[in-house]
Every structure is written in C-alpha cells, then in structure tokens.
Amino acid sequence: MPDATVLVIEDELQIRHVVRLALEREGLPVVEAESCAGGLAEAGRSRPGLVILDLGLPDGDGARFIDAFRAWSSAPVLVLSARSTEHDKIGVLDAGADDYLTKPFAVGELQARVRALLRRGRGRLDEEAVVRFGDVEVDFSLREVRRGGGPVKLTPIEFRLLGLLVGQAGKVMTHRQLLRLVWGPDASDNSHYLRIYVGHLRHKLEADPARPRHFLTETGVGYRFRL
C-alpha cells in the first residue's frame, strides 16, 4: 500500500518546514498550502490521507476548513493550535478534527500522533477482536477483559466507554462526544459521570491511576486513548 500523502496547511514558512522534515523522515509524501482556500484547493487535487491544519490561518478559522473538507473526505485531521483556550480546540474537534497538538511541539510527538492517526485510518481497532495494551487484554468478541492473565469485571457502561475509547485510539474525544455516545443526547449536564467512569477504568486497568499511560486526559477538552 503506498504511503498516504499528508497535506500541511500552515502560514508560517519555518513551522511548515519543521513539519515537512518530520513527515519526510517518516517516509510520507508532503504537499503544502498557506491558507484555508489554498488548502481546500490542494486537498481536492492531492486527495490527502491526512491533513495537518494550523488554527491561526489568516483567511479564516480552522472550523470552516474542516466543515468543507468533511463534506467529501473522512481522512484524519490533526490540528496545530497556538492558542491556549480550550474552547477553540473543542470547537474544531466537535467540527470533525481528530486530534490536536499545542505549539510548540516536539518532532517525536508529532510523528507519533501522525502514525496513530494513519494507523486508525487503515483499520479501526474495534474491528480487531483482541486489543492489548500494557498488561491488559480486551477481547471484544467475547466481551472479556483480562489483566495480567486474570479476569477484570467491568460494568456495562465501563465496557461501552472502553470500547469507544479503544476504538478511537489516538483520537481526542471531547467530553460532549463521549457523553452523547455513552449516555445519550441529553446527558451533557452530567459530565461528572463521565469523569467518574473514566476514573473507574483507570483504577481497574492502569498500573498507576494517578499517572495513566493509556487513558489520557486532555484537560478541559476530553480524553484520548493511547495504546
């Protein structure tokens, strides 16, 4: 399978250069654009397998690009955000972005995120019957969870939450998305339920619940599952 083309939309030349270097070292072909409009045009031409999008573009906010791009492509979108307000991040994630990286970022971190997003693009994890992370083994076909060889008992909600997070591994899920998928559309007032159940999962499946390695918190935004 040929490697997916990555479209980098970023108005700062030097940052674009850093991103291009990081991707080319991963062996990924890169195309570039400097604006929302240019990005959309380039996306139409090159049909990228992944988009890296800066949020501070001069000709509009990223949410507009994502809206237009999502109309015809389901390729993952990684957002680069220089802003510290979580509100903007939630906005683009709810609009359909898959992940975000706050500037400044380490090259290694960018490469890891890109790998995770591309892997997810090729085949969803929840289609695999058995997923392993740490000393935990989740068998989705048998609906069984084992840790260190012994069975772990999960409640139905915990299992559903685990399935969602594992299925979207690498992707940031906002609080609102998770609440809607697990508790239904009216649950947005009960965000403490989500936090309590994620806490349960950590206590049952993480080696050190205070320092989770798999069920990561994106503070103010949501959660990300990392294999």
């Binding site: 991103v19 510290s84 994620v198």
Partner: protein, 516 residues
C-alpha cells in the same frame, strides 16, 4: 344679648398658621368697624334698611378677602354694630321693638348665607387655581424627570415641585450604589435615623413620623421594578388629606426617573466593560500567537536537528539541545506571563466542573514528563478524595507550577511528594520537596507578583509561577501558603473547598454479559 360665642375661633388659634388667621379676623373686625364709621355721620339721612345693605356689603367684602370664618365673624359683628350704633335705643344692645329683632335675625341669616356663599365661591376659585398650578407643576415635573440626566437633577425637580405646594419640602435618599444621598432642602426636620430608612427600604411600606406644629414627615419607598431604589422624604402639614395620593404619584414618577438613570448607567458601564474586555482579549491572543509562532519554529528546528537520521557532531548536538531547552523555557515564561495577564485583567472566569482531582494531577504529570524524568515522585491519597468543582485547565497550571518548582529547586536525588488530605470543609494538597526550602523570611512574599528585591532571592524566577497559583487557588475559594517542614525541604500547601457534589447513581450492579 350676649356676646357671640367665639369658640369657633379656637381651632384657628391653635393652628400653626396663627398669624395668618389673626390677620383674617382682624380684617373682618376692621372692615366692619370702617363700615360703621363711614355710615355713622350720614345716619340721619340713611334709613335702617340702607344701613343693613351696607353691612351686608361689608360681609361680602370680608368673605371675598378673608374666607368663611372671617365672614361669620363679620356677620355677627355687623349685626352687633348695627344694633349698638344705629337702632334705637342707640348705644345700647337692647332691643325696643320686636320688628327690630326680626330685622337682626334676617340680617344675621342673610349675612351668614351671603358670606358663606361668597366665601365658598372664592374657595372654589382658589382651589381651581391651585389645581391648575398643581397640574402645571406635575406636567413640568414629569417633563423634567423625563429629561433628567443625573440624580441631582431629579432631586432638584422634586424640590421645585413640592415648593409649588408652598408648605412641603422634600429630600431624596438613595443607597450609596446609586449616587450620594442628595438633600433637596434638608434641615433638622427632614433628618431620619438610618435604621428607619433601612426598614422602609427593606419592607417597601410607606411610613410617617410626627414633627412639631402638627406637621409630619412622610417616608415614601421608591419601589422599582426589581427592588426598592430609595426613599423620598416629604415634610408637610399633617392634616392635608389631598396630599397623600399626590405623594404616591410623585414617588412613582421619581422612581421611574431614578430607575431610568440607573439602567442607563448600567448599560454604559456594561458597554465600556465589553469594549475593554474585547480589546484585552484580542491583544492577549494576538500576543500569544505572535510570540509563540517564532518560538514554535525555534523549538521545532532545534528538535529536528537532534532527531535527524544522522547524529550531529557532539558540539552541535549540545548547542541544538541548549537552543531547544531555552526555547521551551522561554515558552513557559511567555505562557506564565500571558496567564497572569489574563488572570489579572479583571474577573477570572472559571469553567468549574465537578471532577476528581486525581485526573487533573494525572494530566499535569503527563505534561511534566520531561521535567520530572529521572525524579522520584510519590503521589498519595488522591484517589480517596471526593469530586471537586474546579476549573481543570487552571488547576492543571497550579499543579504544574508547584511540581515544576519542586523539581527545579531541589536536589535531583531527593523525592517529591504530592499528597491530598481531608481537611473537613476542604481538601488539602501538599507538595513537599527536598533541598533548602523557601527563604524563611519570605514565606509570604514568594506568592507576590514581581516582588521587589526578587533578584536577591537565590531562587530567581519563582515569583510569577507562585503568584499564578495563588490567584487561581483564591479564585476557587481556597488558600495557599508555603512553609519549611521541620525535617527539611520546602512545602506548599493549598486547600480547595469541598462544596456539595452533584448526585451520582452508580449503575445497577451487573457485569458485562459474556457470550461464553
């Protein structure tokens, strides 16, 4: 014949306007006397009936000039003078003929009736004129209140309106947050104890205090749409029944004006606030973007050199590493500065949600992975704490700043301990690190922003991080302090109030059904 009973004069004598009353009755006496004096020389030429007519004319005159009471006095006095001076036997009140008695009675009755009718007409005319003045005054007042640009103008208009009544004075008392209490025409009698004012303000019922000379001081609450806006004090005659509905109307007009001014002020303040808030946040995010963009490039380029496929020569590697780390440090400082600017730029807007502190600590530790690499860190007691209503983003900054300081200013081999304890109404967090701890004489100052003499503190650059921590913790209703434990090292301890967590129902016990 006995002297007429003058008891009807008594209320007038008791009234506060005694001199006016005296003047009126004096006028009655004077007019009657003058009439008698004028007729007396022509007595032989004038018949008694003509004389009677002239006395009746005098009564009408008195009734027009001095009103009912004086007309009564003039009637009685006229009859007496007529009898004494003109009816034989003259210079005696004795009556010789029965027909004279009839004349007196008729004369008295006619005088009284004509006098009362005339006085009534006059009173009605006066009342009509007064009503017209009042209507005009009310109209002027409404117009002035509608155009008033300040509370002082409102008070002024009220004062002028009450002066039209001639005998009333007013004073507007407003709480301090709606401008100063402005006296219209205050004096001792318009001073009311504060607790009485507060009571009227609180329960919204009008009240009345007695004053000297049959007067009273009305306390009229200014009942606005949402709350009472103040009290209108009116000093007036106590027996003026027509005044009460008028004052109610006056209070309603005044409260409309005061409320209008209040809301104009609120709207202006809100607009100003919104404009400056927008400017501030535009400035901050522009600054944030413009500063972070070159930093991102700097950091990314240095990191690219370090992670390239070919290893760098040792010297270049060390330099690239230094560039990357310095860029990262600079980024942290810029972040702290922008955070502080945001926190200090007015109200700190907290996005509080109920969540376990353990989660926020976990996220902070993840962010500090590289800073804490190789350090021994113990986390204790966090899993047992209740949910706290906190702004996760801001509390993450608190934990990050405290842990980063702990790592930076303690020996690399010493452990760092982050612990949480139940402290009754609050949860207490402690970050303990080894080393020399805080300067003992600056335990309070380390939290101050840009404390003078900071350069002398051996651990420079600490001020901003801890100042941010204090601002955030205090915005959450908690307290933060630093001390040096007896066993050595330093400790920052802060509390977060527990509050009342929202209800949480665990799902019905049941395990995941298996297909096995």
């Amino acid at each position: 014949m006995r002297l007429p009973n003058l008891m009807f004069l008594m209320p007038a004598l008791r009234s506060p306007d005694f001199p006016t009353v005296l003047r009126r009755y004096g006028l009655a006496v004077g007019v009657c006397g003058l009439t008698a004096a004028l007729i007396f020389p022509f007595q032989p030429a004038l018949d008694l009936p003509n004389t009677v007519m002239l006395f009746l004319l005098a009564v009408v005159l008195v009734a027009v000039l001095a009103g009912r009471g004086a007309a009564v006095l003039a009637s009685v006095l006229g009859v007496a003078l007529f009898d004494f001076l003109f009816v034989p036997p003259r210079f005696s009140l004795e009556v010789s003929h029965a027909r004279h008695l009839l004349t007196f009675v008729v004369m008295l009755v006619v005088s009284l009736v004509v006098g009362q009718l005339t006085a009534g007409l006059r009173a009605q005319a006066t009342e009509a004129a007064r009503r017209e003045r009042l209507a005009r005054a009310l109209y002027d007042l409404a117009r002035e209140l509608a155009g008033a640009m300040s509370v002082a103008q409102v008070a002024d208009a009220v004062e002028r309106f009450l002066l039209v009544r001639g005998d009333a004075r007013g004073r507007l008392v407003l709480p301090a947050d709606q401008g100063p209490a402005l006296p219209c025409a205050g004096d001792g009698e318009l001073d009311v104890p504060d607790e009485v004012l507060r009571e009227v303000m609180a329960d919204g019922h009008p009240s009345r205090l007695p004053r000297r000379g049959g007067r009273c001081c009305d306390l009229l609450p200014l009942a606005g749409a949402t709350r009472n806006r103040g009290v209108l004090l009116v000093l007036r005659r106590g027996d003026d029944a027509a005044m009460a509905p008028l004052l109610e109307g006056l209070a309603a007009l005044v409260v409309t004006a005061v409320e209008r001014l209040h809301f104009v002020e609120v709207a202006q303040a809100a607009q100003l606030e919104a404009v400056s808030e927008r400017l501030r946040s535009t400035l901050l995010s522009a600054l944030s973007h413009d500063v972070r963009t070159p930093l991102t490039a700097l950091y990314g380029l240095a990191d690219s050199m370090l992670t390239g496929p070919r290893p760098l020569p040792e010297e270049a590697r060390v330099n690239a590493l230094a560039i990357r780390d310095q860029a990262f440090r600079l980024n942290g400082m810029v972040g702290n500065l922008l955070d502080m600017a945001r926190l200090r730029s007015g109200r700190v807007e907290l996005r509080r949600e109920w969540q376990p502190a353990e989660e926020v600590v976990g996220a902070s530790l993840k962010l500090l992975e590289s800073v804490l690499a190789g350090r021994v860190l113990r986390v204790e007691g966090l899993g047992e704490q209740p949910l706290l209503e906190i702004d996760a983003v801001l509390m993450e900054r608190v934990f990050c700043n405290l842990l980063e300081n702990a790592a930076k200013y303690s020996p690399a081999e010493s452990p760092i301990v982050l612990s949480a304890h139940d402290a009754g109404e609050a949860v207490e967090f402690r970050v303990v690190s080894g080393g020399t701890g805080f300067p003992p004489d600056r335990l309070e100052q380390v939290f101050a922003l840009f404390e003078r003499g900071q350069a002398e503190v051996p651990i420079a650059g600490m001020g901003l991080g801890l100042a941010i921590c204090r601002t955030i913790v205090e915005a959450h209703g908690g307290r933060i302090r630093a001390f040096n434990p007896a066993q050595g090292g330093g400790c920052v301890v802060f509390t977060l109030p527990k509050g009342t967590p929202p209800p949480f129902e665990l799902e019905a016990a049941g395990e995941v059904p298996t297909h096995a």
